[in-house]
Each structure stands twice: as C-alpha cells, then as structure tokens.
C-alpha cells in the first residue's frame, strides 16, 4: 500500500529517539498539568477558607455494578492500549505493520479509506503516534476517575468516538467486510467493544437501575453470539478444515501466524501445539467452537440470571482459552496495540449479566454531577454548597467564566472532577499537536533524516557552470547570484530515484511558492547519452515540473557536463545489461552569495508519498535558512 513508509525500518534510531523525546516531553507536561490543577484546587479551597466540617453523608446512589465493571474495565484497557502505543516501533510501524496487514483482505474501498489514514499517520509519525498514546491514556484515566455524572457520560462519548476511529482506521472495521470473519480471531473488532462500552457508559445512570437494561444487553449479546456461531458454521468459509489442499485452513493459519510472533517460548510452544492440533483436527475444533458459541449465545438470549451466570462462566472459560490459544493475548509479539477482542467481550458480557439484577434505588439518594464530599462552610448545613455555583441552566457562558464563578466552581469540585479535568488535558495534549501537524500538507522532515541522515554543512564557493536549460536558454550559476539555489543531478530517463527526487523538488517548489523569485530549483543532467533538451522537456512533462516558475533543468554536451559532475562529486557510470545509468543522489544548497551551504544525502529511500513530502520539507527548510543567512 503506498504512502505507509513501508521501506523505513520501524526501529529506525532517528525516529525512535524523536518519538521517545516527544513522549517524555509530553509526559512531563501531563505531570505538570496534574500538579498545577491539584495546587490550584487546594489553593482555591484554602483561599476560600473551606474545609469539610464533620462527617459528610453521600446522598447519591451507589454506582451500578454493571456500570462500574465497564468503567473500570475499559478504563484499564484504554490505559494498557495507550502504553502499548508507546512501543518504540509504533511511530513508523503502525501503518505498515498493523494497519496495512489488517486491511489487506478487505474490499478496495476499505483499503482506500485505511490507506488515507495510514498515509496521514505516516506524514507526521511522531505527533500522531504520541497523540495515540496520550488520547488513550487520557480516556483511561478519565473513565477510572469520573465515576458518575456528566463527566462520566462525556468520557463514554469520547470513548465511543476514539473507539470508532480505531475500529475504522486501525482495525479496518474489525474485518467485517473481509472474508474469514470469525469471533475466534477477533471479529467484529476489539475497538468496536470499546465504542459499545463507551455508549453504555454515556447512558444516564438511572437506566442502570432498570432490569430492562440488562435484559436488552444480554439478549443482544446472545443474538450476536448465535450469529457468530452461524458464521463459524457456514460451509465454504474454510473453518471446518484444518488443512485445505495441503495449505493451512483459516483458523490454522491464524494460530500459526500468532505462534510465529516473538513471545515467551512456553507460550509460543503452546500456541504452536494448538496450531498443529487445529491442522489435524480442524473439524472437531470448529464443531466445539460452533456448539459453544451457539449454546452460550442461546443462554444469554434467554435472559434468565441463573442460566446467564452459567453461560458467562462457560464463556469466560471458552473465551480465555481462545484468547491464549488463538488470539495469543493479542499484544504479544509484533506491534500489538490491544489485547484483542476477548477481554472487552467478556467485560461486556459480565456487565450485561450484572445489569440483569440491578441494585434498587436507595431512598432519598440522587444521581448528581456534584462532588461526593462537597465541603460545607462553617454554619452551612452538610450536603449543601458553600460556594457561588452558577446554575448552567439559568446563566450564560460569560457569567460562568467570571473569575469568581470559576474559582467557586473549582473549589466546589471533587478531587475526582479535578483529576478528570487533568485527564481531559492529557487527551488534548496528544490531540492538539496531532491536529496542528495534520493541518499541514507537508510531511515531517524526520523521515528524510531517517533515510539519509543529517545534512553536511559546507562553506565554500559553489563550482560555476554554464549550461542550457529545458527551453534552450543559456544559464550560468553566476546569473543566479542573489538567489538561494537548491541543486541536484538527475537522469531524464531514470526509472526510479530521479523521478522521486524530481517530485521532492516539485513539492519543495510548491512549499516555497512565496519565495519563488528568491529561490531557484536547479537540476543538472547526469546522462551523457540522453542529453538533448527534448529529454529534459519530456522528463519535466512526466514529473509535472513545467508549471514551476523557478525550475531549471540544465544540460549540455557530455564534455561540458563531466567537469561539473566531477566538481560536485557526482559519479556517472554506465552499467551493463539494461541497467540504468549509475550515479549518486545528492542535493546542494547554495546561498545567495554563491557559497555552498549544505550537502544533503538525497537517496529517496522507499519513495512513499510521506518520504517524498518529507524530503521536500527538508529542502524547503534548507532554502529558507539559506535565504536568512
């Protein structure tokens, strides 16, 4: 799939170091954020002279167990996922090692959609990878801390949003449009479970005190499992055979690919042994899976708490076995981004079961978004606010943002609310730089640096030349004095690197459009045979360079060209048997005073859209620097 940096080593030290640095810096900012919020909260409360007086009675309803399971369970899962996103290879590797393979068997429209996301990630790998870390960690913390009220509902909605983003772009819709969909291998996608859980958490708390909620949840879950059993049993989908014509069947190949990942040897041996078992007894394994899914699904659909409890235990046993033996715990080896679908699925099933027998509402209790231990000032009755809390229903936003009202609201907030605000800050800490980076069409120069290293500074007069441009006009280096020059050497009949370098220059030209009268983009022909200007024009047309006003492609007789190649250290060598001309790839930055400023290694590497854009950014930055010197 193009545009996904598939040619860059995922553990490239340049990118990994930048990613770690970004995480460290953002981590420090996150810590600082929590410290500042805590200090502000304590200070405001002290300044206002507020402290709890006597024992407080929490008048609110206790959190429904089903809701707590979802909140805590998915909060922890989001944090785990965030930590997994911090793996060093994730910045470069996620598009090529996670997104691309996941989409491979999906229809082309899914691949196009996912490719777009992968390319966007690839353009700004550091910011996007760091954002994925902080957004997921932030959602996790938020879910863990906001145990009730609107804060939890908002956290649920954010979880829905990000879960769907991950499900669509990271999991290619959980593979539901691809052949081979199976509950055993993770369908319909772990992230969809996160989104469903988020949606449930966004429901008003009162709904959790109705047995109907549990009934709907368990019935839906039951029907879903029965559907998955039907899919698993459907003939012709390759699940009944452990081996087809000497090739591994669908389930066998999944298990074997998991066994091949790097992981503790004991686990690898276990998974590998199970793979062999599936290969030999595919029919029996699938029969067990179909029966288990069908019967557990039917039991859930019945909605009888006792039957559901037994079904839940069976599902837990079956699911955990699948999690270890088929899904390989999801995150071991390779670049695992989550523990796959089984754990979130079990959390949803458990919540459904718990919701079947809801806790009755306590007399006089209320669901509130106000803090649990709201302090009272001396003389105030317990449980009432001592601060001027502005009623959102009756005041406008200007009113609410007044310093006095803000400080009042802060003083009235619980520790959990303040910490939740910190979690929101953590999410923004990742999301804002990512959004800012994605707003730019130009890729980060980090990719170019990872391919060719940093540039070499120079400070010597640029060797002069007088050649003919693509329009047949004589052009000398001296005639370009006063302009910053980006100089490279291109073969007009090259089939690989030169067209990519030309695209890098073209994109740099577009980035420098505001300086087109001050910057000249110059290429010198490196091919002694195809040196006629007609080849320069054909190349320019091929690479859409004709619209760049400051593009010069220069040529001359081989006797004119050779000394220039030599002075710039460019080797041109005829290779045998249909190979293109051999030459080194380099670019030079010449300052406005005619001095060589930099030599950039210019092997275009994998030549993806992201690396081309990255090189363009690098040379455009170099040109801007040269203009300032």
């Amino acid at each position: 799939m193009p545009g996904m940096n598939s040619g860059i080593n995922i553990n490239d030290p340049t990118v990994v170091a930048a990613f770690k640095t970004a995480l460290l810096h953002q981590g420090l900012v996150a810590a600082l954020l929590f410290i500042v919020l805590s200090l502000a909260w304590v200070s405001v409360r002290e300044f206002r002279g507020t402290r709890p007086v006597g024992p407080q009675r929490d008048t609110r309803q206790p959190e429904a167990p089903a809701r707590r399971v979802l909140r805590v369970g998915f909060g922890l899962l989001w944090i785990l996922d965030g930590i997994l996103q911090a793996q060093p290879g994730m910045a470069v590797g996620l598009p090529s090692h996670v997104i691309k393979p996941t989409a491979q068997s999906s229809p082309s429209w899914v691949q196009h959609l996912v490719n777009w996301a992968g390319t966007s990630w690839s353009y700004h790998p550091i910011q996007t990878a760091a954002a994925a870390v902080w957004i997921q960690v932030g959602i996790g913390i938020w879910l863990l801390l906001a145990s009730r009220g609107r804060l939890l509902q908002f956290a649920g909605l954010v979880s829905v949003g990000w879960g769907l983003v991950v499900w669509v772009f990271g999991e290619s819709f959980g593979g539901i449009f691809a052949p081979g969909l199976s509950w055993l291998t993770g369908a319909p996608g772990a992230a969809l479970c996160y989104a469903v859980a988020g949606a449930l958490l966004a429901l008003p708390a009162g709904i959790w005190r109705s047995a109907r909620t549990g009934a709907v949840m368990t019935r839906c879950f039951g029907v879903f499992l029965v559907g998955m059993a039907v899919l698993q049993a459907w003939p012709g989908r390759g699940f009944w055979q452990g081996e087809v014509h000497g090739q591994a069947g669908s389930l066998t190949s999944m298990v074997q690919s998991m066994a091949a990942l790097s992981q503790p040897s004991a686990l690898a041996d276990l998974v590998s042994a199970f793979g062999s078992f599936v290969r030999a007894d595919g029919f029996a394994v699938n029969l067990i899976a179909v029966l288990a899914l069908g019967s557990v699904g039917a039991a859930f659909a019945i909605r009888n708490p006792r039957i559901v409890r037994i079904a839940l235990i069976a599902l837990a046993v079956f699911g955990l076995a699948d999690w270890v033996l088929v899904q390989d715990m999801g995150f071991l080896g390779g670049l695992g981004t989550d523990p796959n679908s089984m754990i979130p699925m079990l959390l949803l099933a458990t919540a459904g079961y718990l919701a079947l027998t809801p806790t009755p509402a306590a007399a006089g209790a209320q669901e509130s978004s106000q803090p649990a231990s709201e302090p009272a000032q001396e003389g105030q009755p317990a449980g009432t606010s001592a601060f001027p809390i502005v009623d959102p229903a009756t005041s406008n936003w200007r009113e609410r943002l007044k310093p006095a009202n803000l400080s009042g609201a802060m003083a009235a907030a619980s520790l959990a609310s303040v910490a939740s605000a910190g979690a929101i800050g953590v999410i923004l800490l990742g999301a804002v730089p990512m959004a800012a980076a994605q707003a730019s069409d130009a890729a980060s120069p980090i990719l170019a640096q990872s391919v060719d290293g940093s540039s070499a500074p120079l400070n010597s007069p640029a060797p002069g030349f007088t050649l003919t441009d693509q329009d047949g006009r004589k052009v000398s280096l001296a005639s370009l004095h006063g302009k910053a020059i980006l100089l490279t050497f291109l073969d007009p009949v090259c089939v690989t690197d030169c067209p990519l370098i030309a695209q890098e220059f073209r994109q740099a030209g577009l980035l420098l459009a505001g300086h087109s009268s001050q910057v000249e983009l110059v290429a010198v022909n490196i091919n002694p045979l195809y040196s006629d200007v007609s080849y320069l024009r054909a190349f320019d047309q091929q690479e859409r360079l004709t619209s760049l006003p400051n593009w010069l492609f220069l040529t001359g007789a081989p006797a004119q060209l050779r000394p220039i190649w030599k002075k710039y250290g460019i080797a041109s060598e005829t290779a045998p048997a249909g190979s293109m001309l051999g030459h080194n790839d380099a670019a030079f930055v010449i300052g406005t005073n005619g001095q060589l400023r930099q030599e950039l290694g210019f092997d275009p590497g994998p030549g993806t859209a992201a690396t081309v854009s990255s090189f363009a950014t690098e040379i455009a930055n170099a040109a801007e620097q040269a203009l300032k010197q």
Binding site: G227, L529, Y530, Q542, G578, S579
Partner: protein
C-alpha cells in the same frame, strides 16, 4: 420484546448479515467483449536485415523492477550472438525494434516503473555506438509499436494512448498523424469496425501503415495513410477465413515489402496467415496455418520476407516467403522467454532466456531437431531499478 431490545437485535442482525455478506461475496463474472480475439503476444521478437539479426527477450525476473529486457545481435559475418542492449537506460520495459538497412536499428524503450515516456536510441554500426533519438510518448505494449524507414530518416510510433506519431530522425519532436479514435471514426475505420490499434509500419517513406483489430468479421484492419486521409489497405481474405474476426499480429517492413501475420478465429478454429504487400499495394497470402488450439507466442522476420512464429505449445513454424509453405519445427526447449530468429544465412535459430542465461538453439538441416549452439551469460545488475 420492547423497542430498545428490538433495535439492538436488528442492529446486531444487520451486523451479522453484513459480515456474512462481506465474507461470501464472489467476484462477478466479467463479460468479455473481445472473446473472439486471441491473447496479446509476448514482446519478445526478432528482426533481420541483410547484415544483422536482432532479438529481444525478457531476462532476470518474470516481471517488475528486476525484469530486464535484453537486445541481442548476430551480425552477418559472425556465428555468435552477442549482448547489445542500448546503454544508459533501464530496460525494465521491453525495447521496441525498428530495423534499418544494413547493421542499423532504432530501439524505443517502453515505459516502466516511474518512466512514462519512451527514450529512443539508434545505432548504425551494429551497436558500437548509440545516439539518442527524439523521446516518444509511452510506446504501446505491442511488438510493432515502432517503425522506421529503411534509411531511418522517418520514424513512426504507436503510443499506449492509441496515438500514432511520426518524427524525422533529425527532429526533436513527434508529430501526431492519427489517433485510434479518429481512425475509428473515419470511413475506413467504420468499414472495419476498428476497436484498437496494434501495429505501425512504413510501406514506403511516404506511406505509413497502421494496423488494428476490426470488429467486423473477415476484415484485416490495415490502413494506409496519405496526408491526413486513411484508407483500408489490408489484404482480402479467402471466403473460408472471412467468417471470424481478424487480428493483425504483426506488421513489419522487409527488404521485399511489408509483411503481416494475421490470425483468424480462436481455439481449434484458429488459423495463421502471412501476407506480403508489394509496392503496388497488392497482397500475396500464404496458405492458412492451423494453430491447433495454440496461440502465437512470438514472431520473427527475416530480411527477404521470411517469417517464423513460436507457438504457445512450444512448436515453431516458419515460412520462407510469398511462394513458400508453412513448415513446423520441433518443440523449442521451454523457457520463460523465447523467440525464433531468421538470420540472413538462412538458418533458423531459437533463442531462449531464463534468468541471466540466453541459450541459442539451431535447427538442423533436416528441420528435425534443435542443437544447442551457444550460451550467453548476461551480467544483470539485480536491484539496479528498484
């Protein structure tokens, strides 16, 4: 069941159905409107003049950045084929050949990888030196996408987009002559039901020829240009061959006039006919050669109108000229790329290429067996294009 439950059930049901549909969608059969035509030929080929025989074969990998097409040359005064691929350009795209008088050749490299146009180079001294010709628009993937007058003063190119253009050797640009669309819209094109252009050649320096597939049965789509007008100029096929569509497989100039290879019908009904055009415009047809379920894999032409084809079943067939008859050869040793060659000496060679090795086989006098005559190791630089 109450409403939320129903909604949930419906949603999950839809999800399951979608998943099921997604997993069981089978590719719909693609209707082929061109079922009556044979498959496209390989771009491996050979052409000969009185002083040189040239052959092009695919070597290296089967396709992609490590497939390098190689040009080989056998001069009249030598018994040994030698590697003569034009320098300083990657030949991941197959070179299209246009033989010149004597040891001369024009070669245009078809587009490949990031190269979308066709560099053109020429030699007049059997590959000792090469010079660049005007760059052409990306040449079509048919063997006769490039043609030249015997002296090389004029060139003709058929591009991927179906545009035919000409250029003088001294010019730096190509001039459009006709397009597939405009030719199809002309009276001659309508009479044939032209659907695609497949070859270009020069009958004389003033008469460019363009060939194409005709939708109308029995019509050989060869057109002669005169100024801006084009007229049907193909041979008239005998009634026995006029019931099926005709594909112009090859159209080349030789010292004894223009030669074409036509295929009529497909499968067991497929026949191959060679035709020679005299300067008067009159065609002489060969006997129809029964292809017996095979297709033509590659073709070769000798200097004086001789032609040879290599079939997909491994057999070859040769015909010495307008007055001759088709003669089958033994099976050519299997190889990923192969062509027959007809040097001026009158011998029949088979060139087979696999990886970096070219093997030359010679047909014995009795035409009964192939004898290995030469092995050429080609120093392919793998990875140089990717």
């Amino acid at each position: 069941m109450r409403l939320p439950g129903k909604i949930g059930m419906l949603t999950l049901g839809a999800l399951v159905l979608c998943a099921g549909c997604g997993s069981t969608i089978a590719p719909s059969p693609v209707a082929s409107s061109r079922a009556a035509l044979p498959p496209a030929m390989s771009l491996a080929e050979s052409a000969a003049t009185s002083q040189a025989t040239w052959a092009v074969l695919s070597m290296g990998a089967k396709s992609g950045a490590n497939e390098f097409w190689q040009l080989f040359l056998l001069t009249a005064n030598s018994q040994q084929w030698k590697l003569d691929t034009p320098p300083d350009v990657a030949t991941n795209g197959a070179p299209a050949l246009a033989g010149l008088a004597g040891p001369g050749l024009v070669a245009g490299v078809r587009p490949s990888l990031y190269l979308s146009y066709s560099p053109v180079s020429r030699t007049s001294d059997a590959g000792k030196t090469w010079s660049a010709g005007p760059p052409a628009a990306g040449l079509a993937s048919v063997p006769d996408a490039l043609a030249a007058t015997p002296g090389g003063s004029q060139m003709l190119a058929l591009s991927k987009s179906g545009r035919v253009a000409s250029a003088a050797a001294t010019s730096s640009e190509w001039r459009g002559l006709v397009t597939e669309r405009s030719l199809a819209a002309s009276a001659a094109g309508r009479a044939c039901g032209l659907t695609a252009l497949t070859a270009v050649a020069y009958a004389t320096a003033a008469t460019p020829l363009v060939a194409g597939d005709c939708g109308k049965p029995g019509v050989a789509g060869i057109f002669a240009g005169s100024g801006s007008s084009w007229r049907g100029a193909g041979p008239t096929l005998p009634a026995a061959l006029s019931g099926t569509e005709v594909r112009v497989l090859r159209l080349v100039a030789s010292s004894s006039g223009t030669v074409t290879l036509l295929q009529t019908g497909t499968g067991s009904a497929a026949r191959l006919v060679a035709a020679w055009r005299a300067d008067s415009g009159r065609w002489t047809l060969s006997p129809a050669f029964r292809l017996a379920g095979s297709d033509v894999r590659s073709a070769a032409f000798g200097d004086a109108g001789a032609a040879a084809v290599l079939l997909t079943n491994g057999r070859g067939a040769t015909i010495p000229g307008p007055s001759g008859a088709w003669r089958l050869t033994p099976t050519v040793p299997a190889a990923p790329s192969a062509t027959l060659a007809l040097p001026a000496s009158g011998q029949v060679d088979a060139l087979t290429a696999a990886g970096g090795t070219l093997t030359v086989w010679q047909l014995d006098q009795a035409g009964a067996a192939w004898t290995r005559a030469q092995v050429v190791k080609v120093p392919i630089v793998y990875g140089s294009s990717g």
